[in-house]
């Protein structure tokens, strides 16, 4: 029999596996571009040896391409590093803006594959939240994955937040309005485990095409209250 702990552990491993597989794919692509660029430079040098004139502008294009890929690899590995460190402590103080930016960055390739644009629109307010960073990243991915599957004609999923003294509300917009959608397809058991760990709730506005994740500013207080 699968219990709640099993569901939670499987979800955590699946999330970690999915993200790291996507990162490895992106790094492979970066290497492939750098590899071809190096090969093209070699082609140019062989052509030059044969006395053919090489336009310096073409060399600059290749050089810029390599520089851009190095920057891209730097972003990818920073995201991987931040994901890896999200399990350092179970409850820790996190910068919500940075965590959401990381969640969007990690989900970017999945959105590209579905031809969907992810737009993170952070307000000027930068709340600090005490929570489980890894479980929050996992839950945001699951909501984004669901939202992308339900995206409207604009093929754009927006992500923003606001906060009050007790909680933060993370909003996912751009889902196709479905006022007659059957209830209870989301959240599933996988999200329910994460919601419990984070002391969070999900509100769905099917008519407006919005999902709101309500997260306590300090999950430790929430757990104490629940006890």
């Amino acid at each position: 029999m699968v219990d709640r702990t099993d569901v939670g552990n499987a979800s955590e491993l699946q999330y970690f596996g999915k993200m790291t597989a996507s990162i490895s794919h992106e790094i492979k692509n970066v290497m492939a571009i750098i590899n071809e660029s190096a090969g093209l430079l070699e082609d140019y040098s062989l052509m030059a040896e044969k006395g053919m004139a090489i336009d310096p502008e073409r060399l600059k294009v290749v050089s810029d391409r390599v520089t851009m890929q190095i920057r891209r690899a730097d972003r990818i590995t920073k995201n991987l590093n931040n994901l890896a460190h999200s399990v350092d402590e179970f409850h820790k103080s996190i910068d919500l803006k940075e965590t959401l930016a990381l969640a969007v960055g990690l989900s970017g390739r999945f959105a590209d594959m579905r031809s969907i644009r992810l737009e993170f629109q952070p307000p000027s307010d930068v709340p600090t939240v005490i929570t489980s960073s890894f479980h929050l990243l996992n839950l945001i991915w699951r909501v984004l994955d669901f939202a992308m599957g339900m995206s409207g004609t604009e093929k754009m999923i927006g992500l923003t937040y606001d906060s009050d003294a007790e909680s933060v509300k993370i909003r996912f917009t751009g889902l196709a309005a479905a006022p007659n959608a059957p209830e209870a397809i989301f959240p599933t058991a996988g999200e329910a485990v994460l919601l419990r760990i984070l002391g969070a709730t999900i509100q769905q506005d099917a008519k407006g095409g919005v999902i709101t994740l309500v997260l306590p500013k300090d999950v430790r207080q929430q757990v104490k209250t629940d006890c």
């Binding site: 660029s37 290749v62 579905r114 031809s115």
Partner: protein
């Protein structure tokens, strides 16, 4: 030989197309399945090099659609994934025999292309 390269990494297909051009092979490129299908509607190709994972229509389904439109066309898959099992399942279904793991070398690609064209 006219070749169509399909991969969502534009810089990769652009560079590969230029390198093939230097070797006398005319190559065009597309970054998604719809653009690839539009290109084969307008132009003739002998061979296509497809990434397995591309936006919209995936590489396996794109291969099926292209094969229906151009039965004489030859195909090579290119993948960034280490999992050869996934590819084996897809290739058994579609009948594609050739695949290359990224990053590929131009000599390896040319060798496969020539092998296919002389089958």
């Amino acid at each position: 030989m006219r070749v169509l390269l399909v991969d969502d990494e534009q810089e990769l297909v652009e560079t590969l197309a230029e390198r093939l051009g230097i070797r006398g092979i005319e190559a065009r490129w597309a970054t998604d399945g719809d653009a690839a299908l539009a290109l084969i509607d307008r132009e003739d190709f002998d061979l296509a090099v497809l990434d397995v994972k591309i936006p919209g229509i995936n590489g396996i389904n794109l291969h099926k659609m292209m094969k229906e439109k151009c039965p004489q066309m030859k195909f090579i898959f290119m993948t960034g994934h280490g999992s050869q099992d996934d590819f084996a399942a897809g290739s058994a279904e579609t009948g594609v025999d050739y695949y290359l793991l990224k990053p590929v070398t131009i000599d390896e690609l040319l060798h496969k292309m020539n092998e296919l064209m002389h089958q």
